[in-house]
């Protein structure tokens, strides 16, 4: 059992004990390490100013460095990781190619978002060093970084101007197999840090240890990506200053890594990030993968997990309608054993689930789509990207080429939990794919069936109209009547 977090920062080993273990990565970098290039703006993972590269092992894959938001990661999660900050990018005062391009193309104005943009851009080029970036690739990669000065055009210009022949790998300059071996070695030993004022953090090294901890501390929060909890802590909604907290981090549990895609089943482990799922299910559930593409920023997708989204139980959890429509099942595990529960039985009410006190959500699985099934997911927001939806919907339609045989329809954001609209499903069974009038009747039924409320993301009326329109939109798509 260790009482110190071990990590590397810009190639140098650091150990973190006691109270500092409860800091966010960005605070620790800025105030404990004097690495002030990493900026904090929103403290909720929505602006990217705090972007750093996080290197770590996930399952059997080789080490991988990805951009993440330092403001919502706690130090405990950095245990066994290698963090590269903006300060690591230049080399003896000489600008890196990404930095040169940002300067030459006037990609920075006030400069506050700039380190985050450089790190996010670097994340792209570390994985794609051989080719020039296209504006579209760059935009997809920088969705998680807000700039208020430039209008982004100069930043796009900068990224497109990055010359592969001039690129040097910052990861290669700071990282090594020696570092990997050193960190792999420490990761075999579980971690427990207890601070009288700030609480406790546990990182079990085996699943059985996890179950024991869970049984002992039913009030503890389980964290994988910490993308939700990190926000709640920063905003003092869950654990205000002056209160103790307890968290169990899954970061050492490689048994829960990865996405397994088999003929009959796609199984997603509790540690699989949304980014990993997006890449893994491209063929098995292409529309679900597409939904994940706009689900969140790259930084969030590199940290947050699908299982975390499921276990969190938010009525606007953007993946949940899809998992309903896919007929997914959730694995609940404890020392007593494991059970699979259909996802639409998992939720009992607003942020309430079937999870027993000693249980942990360990996996999610669903069957890949066959040829005669159609799956479509929508996420509608007030801004097209990097926004929380005000209505989400997913449709699964098994058909024979002409007529719908079976339907699963789920909506998020229009009720206290995600709603599965079984009456609507029954209406859809037997309807011809191209029967516009029948689809219109179903759309109207949906508008009657949903029970939305007004909040700051949307009005009751808007949500109701949108609910019907999403089915109409799917109908237009199927009839080939959408063009632009």
């Amino acid at each position: 059992m260790r009482d110190a977090i071990v990590l590397y920062v810009n190639g140098a080993r650091r150990e973190v004990r006691g109270a500092a273990a409860f800091l966010t990565l960005s605070d620790w970098l800025r105030y404990e390490q004097r690495l002030t290039g990493t900026k904090v703006v929103c403290a909720e993972g929505d602006c990217g100013a705090c972007t750093v590269l996080l290197g770590r092992r996930s399952g059997d894959r080789p080490w991988r460095f990805d951009p993440i938001n330092a403001c919502i990661l706690t130090m405990a999660q950095l245990d066994g990781a290698h963090v590269l900050t903006i300060e690591s990018v230049e080399s003896n005062g000489a600008l890196h190619e990404v930095q040169r391009a940002m300067c030459d193309n006037h990609g920075s104005q006030c400069g506050f978002c700039t380190p985050g943009f450089v790190m996010a851009m670097l994340g792209h080029f570390e994985h794609n060093p051989k080719e020039r970036a296209t504006p579209k690739q760059v935009a997809n990669h920088l969705t998680g970084n807000l700039c208020r000065c430039t209008g982004y055009l100069p930043i796009l210009d900068a990224a497109v101007d990055v010359r592969p022949e001039a690129l040097e790998s910052v990861v290669a300059r700071h990282h090594s197999t020696q570092i990997e071996s050193a960190l792999d070695a420490i990761a075999r030993d579980s971690l427990h840090i207890e601070d009288p004022e700030r609480g406790a953090v546990h990182a079990p090294a085996t699943v059985s240890e996890l179950f024991a901890l869970r049984a002992k501390h039913p009030d503890a929060r389980i964290i994988a990506g910490n993308t939700d909890l990190g926000v709640m802590v920063n905003k003092q909604k869950l654990w205000p200053a002056g209160t103790a907290r307890r968290a169990i981090s899954l970061h050492l549990l490689h048994e829960l890594d990865g996405v397994k895609v088999e003929e009959a089943q796609v199984t997603i482990g509790a540690r699989a990030t949304l980014g990993e799922v997006e890449r893994a299910v491209k063929d098995a559930a292409p529309d679900f993968s597409r939904l994940l593409r706009v689900f969140a920023s790259p930084q969030i997708k590199n940290a947050g997990t699908l299982v975390g989204n499921v276990a969190n139980g938010s009525p606007i959890g953007d993946t949940i309608p899809s998992l309903y429509a896919l007929g997914a099942e959730v694995e609940l595990s404890s020392a007593r054993g494991a059970r699979w529960v259909p996802i639409d039985q998992f939720y009992l009410g607003y942020r309430k689930t079937q999870l027993a006190e000693d249980e942990v959500v360990t996996r999610v699985r669903f069957a890949p789509l066959g040829d005669k099934a159609l799956f479509r997911a929508f996420k509608i927001c007030q801004r097209r990207d990097l926004d929380i939806s005000y209505v989400g919907a997913a449709f699964y339609l098994a058909h024979d080429g002409e007529v719908i045989r079976e339907a699963r329809v789920a909506y998020g954001g229009v009720g206290p939990t995600v709603l599965r609209l079984r009456d609507v499903e029954r209406m859809l069974a037997g309807v011809a794919l191209r029967d516009e009038a029948a689809w219109e009747r179903v759309a109207e039924a949906i508008e009657r069936a949903v029970t939305p409320r007004s909040d700051l993301r949307g009005s009751e009326e808007g949500r109701r109209v949108l609910s019907g329109n999403l089915l109409r939109k799917l109908g237009y798509e199927l009839r080939g009547e959408v063009f632009a």
Binding site: V41, D104, Q382
Partner: protein, 792 residues
Amino acid sequence: MIKLLDKAQDPSHDSARTHVRGKSEFIDDRPMVAGELHVGVVFSTEPHAKILGINTDAALAVPGVVGVYTAKDVHHNLWGTIIQDQPLIADDVVRFVGEPVAVVAAETREAMEHARRLVRVDYQPLEAILSVRAAIAAKSFIAGERSIARGDVRAALASAKHRASGTVKIQGQDHFYLESQCSIAYPREDGQVEVHSSSQHPTEVQHVVSHGLGLPAHAVVCVVKRMGGGFGGKESQGAPFAYFAALVATRTGRAARCVITKDDDMVMTGKRNPFEIDYTVGYDDDGTIVGLDARLYSDGGAYADLSTSIMERAMLHSDNAYFLANVKITGQVCRTHVHPHTAFRGFGGPKGVAMIETVLEDIAHRLGIDPLDVRKRNVYRGPDRDVTHYGQKVENNLLPSLFDAIEQRCDYRARREEIRAFNARSKTQLKGLSITAVKFGISFTTRFLNQGNALVNVHQDGTVQVSTGATEMGQGVNTRIAMVVAEAFGIGLSSVRVMATSTEKNHNTSPTAASAGTDLNARAALTAAERIRARVAKVAAQLFELPEERWPSRTAGLGTMPEIEIDQATAPDDIVFEGGMVFRRSNPERWIAFSKLCREAYLSRVQLGDYGYFKTPGIYFDKLSGQGEPFFYFTQGVACSEVLIDRLTGELEVRRVDLLMDLGRPVNASLDLGQVTGAFVQGMGWCTTENLVYDDKGFLLSHSPSTYKIPSIQDTPRVFDVHLVHNEGNTKNVRSTKAVGEPPLLLSLSVWTAIKDALHSLAPSDRTLALPLPMTHERILLAARSLSAARS
């Protein structure tokens, strides 16, 4: 005919190299000094209430807390840039949710945050006014009503062929500068205090701190190195936070840091003023406006702040690019119980312009004429339609030719036809197309703000430090000033450095605002540089008459030669400063390096530093009669936006933007282009996604980027073609340049009117769409739904 400027590759921002390396120092990046305290603000949770009591016992008991301060600790507890009506810390009454009621100082941030939540305030709620209409009903106003008028609007409206009336509702906008409000104060000897602030207005900070502490102005120094964005939000509203830090620093004798979180910043600070504009317009069959009667109401929030000036600019921009023969514009600021609204890029301009542009769109729709043709019919055009409603002639008027140029460049007519066909065919989507213009008056409308001073110090190695009252917030004002000074001395840009802004180097500075930072401060710096240049030119002229062994650098130490004396010398007229060298035009072979000349000048006891001062000539505006020539000149531009909306989801995509901007002869065209794209996209956010949602107590619910959506990189127009146009006619301004900071923001209204254009394709010609601003996805969805329902 309009000629485009070639795309230039001008110098990068002077901080670019430190920005990209994370080495630029912002306020909270400064190392903590020994004993430094963290300062937090306890703010009101009530929109309007009597404070019955404040209990600080629990907060003071938190380990590490050193003090909790309330109104009774403030020396002079009223501040305000124009009208001093706002307490620094609320005294007996709170007037908005977010108003400071106490200030907490502690040794750690955690202790400060903890204690902040333990300060208990007992309130007795009073009736709160939370909308413009409620304020009008209650006659709750800030200052009096003002109007600007010309002709006989009543007669013109009565005899007009067509008349239309309506209301334009315009919401506010959060600045969303990435660096939230922050300041650090260091106590200095003998009762002085040095404040480092993220502020556009160091002199205002100096004044507010000195009044609040009861110190003379010369005991307070305010330093601004840079801001992580300002956009107007740090023109007045940075000052209280600087005061809170200074209060703690002077009370405790310890350095004090007040760094506000984004959430608290958004709740506490004011926004772009919301406006509601009631108008009646009269027009001819061809769309010519014959009369306009518009009443502008703004939500000023709880205190005056800059709202009266903002209203004035809205009234002065209600014409935008269009001649209004008979017009009456009335303006009234309303007092409500929300955060005091404040400057935001464009000031009042965007609101006045939004009104006239949407009115023109309605006229076109009702008459079945293309909106571009209606605009062209009304555009300012000499000889008899080129004087504004406040009596200023539109000189150097490029507007008619800008309309022609954009029409050609963006292939407007052909696209208009394509869009008409598309909208007739598509069941799921709609396209819209719109061209709008901007004519933005440059100068503060308050005359005394139009002055600037600059200090230029030339060192013996020929490098130059420049200090002015301009503050750097990303716009590149320092780079432009450095370029102007480098050009004056004929030296490389790397030899000139613009220093942190400080009230001990520059006195009585104006805010860096009204787009005028470069105009005022570069001109003042140029004046100083020219004085120094004139002196060293005399030195050079005399050096060229002497053999080098008799130059001061060889002789001054021994005192063997008479000193070079310039006071009586006549000014040489042919000394050239170029490429780091100084020479006579008649004899370029005999030259001296500028750096060497500076050393020779110093040894000759010639003054190598100077002060420059500038005041904008010829401007005046009588606020009571609403007449005058308030503006030094106008910055002009046009933009054409094409949008695609999804009728079923309300989702919006800005597909293509073409934009032409007249910026005179730019000092740095690359930085100017960055201002144009940045302002446009920022304005697009205001027009589309940025939705401020308040609860029924006036508490801002959308107080962070998870709910307040500024444009992301995906929202940048797919095609974004921006050009500057050739215009060397603005000779009265420094280097014949034109100000750029605000004007392009107003062109983003073309996105808003393009949405209207798209929805007009669903609306019969007798139906006027009163679309609010912003048009969020949901509002587009519901508008499309109700129009479709009405049609079927």
